[in-house]
Amino acid sequence: MSETPIPPNDPQEDNLLDHNYDGIQEFDNPLPGWWKAIFWACILFAVPYTWWYHFADGNSVYDRYEADVAAKIAREGGDGPVAADAAAILAAMNDPTRLARGKAKYGTICFACHAADGGGVIGLGPNMCDDSYKNITKLGDFVGVIVNGIPGTAMVGQTLSPNEVVNVAAYMASLRGTTPANPKDPEGEVIAPWAAE
């Protein structure tokens, strides 16, 4: 391992500083131009960015979030017009878009106790695929169970918009008659087929 700091006749030899630390020498090369240019650009970037993010409208994280949520509510037909009732649920059961929305919401919350395919979980939620129900006798009952929960059980009320309640209720009602992988034994009473009230 040679400790010779510099080969003879190096074109840069003139550039060499008289520094010598344990044999280590240093060149006095200038800063590369592109290095300086990018460094300045990165510093100056702060000015337009700060203006854009903090002083122009609509670009902050919270502005964008609110816009996204507003777009979602608009896409789902507004928050107000849909009343969460049996008629709305029945209509949604025939609307593939609403069923898909209900399924997605079910997949983030309800699946934990009722299983992803609605077959129920022993010790937790009942099977939603058979004809027996513990707390539901008619379609409209879904609304109260979803919004208020069942005191004393794992079923707690969910904070959902009326649209979301209808979607989830419609999806859960539509599970009836499907065949889950591991169905839990029926609980509660056999009830009449879904109907308008």
Partner: protein, 714 residues
């Protein structure tokens, strides 16, 4: 002329420690990688679960592998760069053995659940104090050596060592401030947003001043020595050193984008990270361009290969860092494996390769013999390089795919992958590829360790201690004339002759940049709008939170729902700063291997569900990698420590009343009976006195305060 020799015995000790602990840290890394690929590798034991071992891995590789490597580099190069023997051989040995005891204490506390719950700063308070003491001893030894120097000017490597010693002392002390509640239990002095800020000010700058600046110092000594070439540019050294030291400190908040951290802090973190790109690349340029005229040797010299690839990884990581700090990019990368790939490119590539390059260069010099197995050095290089490629490619793919799955919406405007678990099980094949990469890298490290031992065995009976001669420094220092303007850098040349002045400027750079962010974070009240309905945890919930911390749940679960539509669809209302005011320490987490838990009390407060999940996670979540926590169902909760812990929290501002503390045990038992009743209703009996009840109570409480009452922002 004065005659002196160098203390290389201390360097030999630190080299052995670095290589030895490196193998241990990497081995634990492979084990936890296996646990993510298949949860059976948690072994069903409470002491070997991922949540407890992951801090052992990170602390071992950072503080033991990298730490001992740094000390070896500092002790070897500083003595030679300043032509003076280390200040005190005794202090050197105290430093060495003290540091090894600290590492040992980490290995003896983490598996047993003793942790402060702050990432990369998990060690409990007595060990934190020991770290501070040993660090000060290191500082005395280092600055004492500078004081006895026979070389007027300080070389750039020394500047980086100075920055390391100063900054790590400041970061460690101020982030670790905590109120002890018991012999191995403490609560962070800070809460919520402020704690998160301090933690990532520390966490980010631990990367800066433990994994970057000392390794740049190492590079500036060992790279020109190995290459036999002068350093490319002295001016670049000066500019990139000062810009790096000053700018790095600001960048911490980029770890907290989209969280409840105030937006101004987030923006500052991003902008300074972008500015940091070129200062970092200054180091890479000075490293790589030093090889001009020696590139032909890179192909044949494995030491230069280690250095070149290491520096290249440094360049890659320091480009990626600013990229990830851009808010829009961060919204995709944060909480995903992208971050994990990023840090492993930096640590395995940069930190690891610089240490191995240095150790192989030192081996014949320290042991005064030939390297026992020269061919193995090359083999080690290739095994490690291929190992890193396997690791990072797999984990980049895992990170990107999981990040994209989280945010993916269907045409109907619903989440494409509403079941979080699906986004995790999808990564399994990548996790196995990571294991392969990790095993390769570990095998290389073991090969290096054996080579070190074999070389050591052929050492001479007694080491030759060369004696050097140099004149003492003249009493009067005549500074060079400060002509030629700023860019001639003569002013800096004068600073280099004055270590005290130089160090003061480093302190000013580090502390002033810190205070610019810390002071506003703590004094501007609007940063954390008060939410009237947020109340301190009940005694039982507090006990449950302590279990959550001890088990290291934060290693896989975040508690921070970001204000992003795809997050609120999945996890519920986004998290507000005011919700965390009693969280000592904060538990926002940094990675989602499991789902976010901040709103778990709203989404799934079912005691029965949680009990079944802790007992056997597969019962409720088929395919999950979460290990079983049966010990929580089997072991009794220690109710008696609750008042003690509440008293500690009261002393740092949590408004518990004396009556609440006096009645804590009774209140906790009464809440436990409520949870137990809920469990009994679901057919699960006999858990009233068990740990699991406290943890369930905590989970049921999480994220519910703002919905319990109308949130009022003051």
């Amino acid at each position: 002329m004065e005659r002196f020799s160098y203390n290389d015995a201390i360097v030999r000790k630190f080299v052995f420690a670095s290589i030895g602990w490196g193998i241990v840290g990497l081995l634990v890394g492979v084990i936890i990688a296996l646990q993510l690929a298949d949860s059976r590798f948690n072994l069903g034991l409470e002491w070997t679960s991922f949540g407890r071992l992951r801090p052992l891995h990170t602390n071992a590789v950072i503080f033991a592998f990298a730490g001992n490597g740094i000390f070896a580099a500092v002790y070897y190069s500083t003595q030679r760069l300043v032509k003076a023997r280390v200040f005190s051989d005794a202090l050197s040995n105290i430093h060495f053995w003290g540091w090894q005891l600290i590492i040992l204490s980490a290995a003896l506390t983490f598996p047993f659940g003793f942790t402060s719950g702050k990432e990369y700063a998990e060690l409990e308070w007595p060990i934190d104090i020991a770290i501070a003491v040993i660090w000060v001893i290191f500082a005395i030894n280092f600055f004492g050596t500078l004081a006895r120097r026979r070389e007027r000017h300080l070389y750039v490597a020394i500047w980086f060592y100075i920055a390391t010693i100063i900054a790590i002392a400041v970061l460690h002390i101020f982030n670790s401030l905590a109120i002890p509640a018991g012999p191995l239990k403490s609560y962070s002095l800070y809460a919520g947003v402020e704690d998160a800020f301090m933690q990532w000010w520390y966490g980010h700058n631990a990367v800066a001043f433990f994994l970057t600046t000392p390794f740049l110092g190492l590079m500036y000594y060992f790279m020109p020595k190995a290459a036999g070439r002068p350093v490319f540019s002295y001016k670049l050294s000066i500019l990139h050193f000062w810009s790096l030291v000053f700018i790095y400190i600001w960048a911490g908040p980029h770890h907290l984008h989209y969280t409840a951290l105030p937006e101004w802090a987030s923006t500052l973190g991003m902008l300074f990270s972008v500015m940091l790109w070129m200062p970092s690349w200054g180091g890479m340029l000075n490293g790589l361009l030093t090889l001009r005229g020696a590139w032909d040797r890179v192909a044949t010299d494995p030491i230069l290969k280690f250095f070149v690839v290491g520096i290249t990884f440094y360049g890659m990581s320091t480009f990626e860092g600013p990229l990830l700090s851009v808010k829009a990019v961060n919204s995709l990368s944060h909480y995903s494996d992208w971050t994990i790939a990023h840090v492993h490119a930096g640590t395995l590539g940069w930190v690891g390769f610089m240490i191995y390059g240095m150790v192989y260069w030192l081996m014949p010099r320290l042991f005064q013999t030939k390297v026992a197995k020269p061919a193995w050095v090359n083999l080690h290089f290739w095994m490690s390089t291929v190992g890193i490629v396997f690791y990072i490619v797999a984990i980049y793919i895992a990170g990107l795919s999981q990040g994209l799955m989280w945010r993916s919406f269907t045409a109907e405007g619903t989440l494409q992958y509403p079941d979080f678990l699906q986004t995790v099980t999808n990564l399994n094949s990548m996790y196995w590829l990571r294991v392969i990469g990790g095993v390769l890298y570990l095998s290389g490290a073991i090969l290096g360790g054996i080579n070190l031992l074999l070389t050591w065995k052929t050492r001479p009976a007694t080491y030759e201690v060369p004696v050097f001669e140099a004149p003492a420094l003249a009493k009067n220092f005549t500074p060079a004339p400060s002509n030629g303007g700023f860019m001639a850098m003569n002013w800096h040349r004068n600073w280099e002759g004055k270590p005290f002045k130089f160090t003061v400027w480093v302190v000013i750079a580090v502390v002033s940049a810190s205070l610019f962010e810390i002071i506003p974070t703590f004094v501007i009240e609007s940063n954390v709008p008060t939410i009237a309905s947020v109340k301190p945890y009940s005694p039982l919930e507090l006990a449950g939170r302590d279990i959550y911390i001890a088990e290291g749940c934060y290693n896989c679960h975040s508690q921070m729902v970001r204000p992003l539509h795809f997050e609120t669809e999945r996890f519920g209302e986004y998290s507000k700063a005011g919700e965390f005011v009693y969280d000592h320490p904060f538990q926002w987490g940094s990675r989602r291997i499991g789902p976010d838990l901040h709103r778990i009390g709203v989404r799934n407060p079912s005691a029965v569900w949680h009990l079944r999940h802790f007992n056997n996670p597969q019962d409720t979540s088929v395919g999950t990698m979460m290990p079983s926590y049966q010990h929580l169902l089997a072991k009794d909760l220690d109710f008696e420590v609750i008042p003690r812990n509440m008293t500690a929290l009261k002393s740092i501002g949590v408004p518990y009343t004396e009556e609440e503390i006096l009645g804590a045990v009774v209140a906790a038992k009464s809440q436990a009976s409520v949870v137990a009743q809920e469990l009994a209703n679901g057919g699960q009996n006999g858990y009233e006195s068990k740990k699991v009840v406290a943890l369930i109570a905590y989970l049921q409480r999480l994220g519910t305060d703002i919905t319990n009452d109308t949130a009022e922002a003051k």
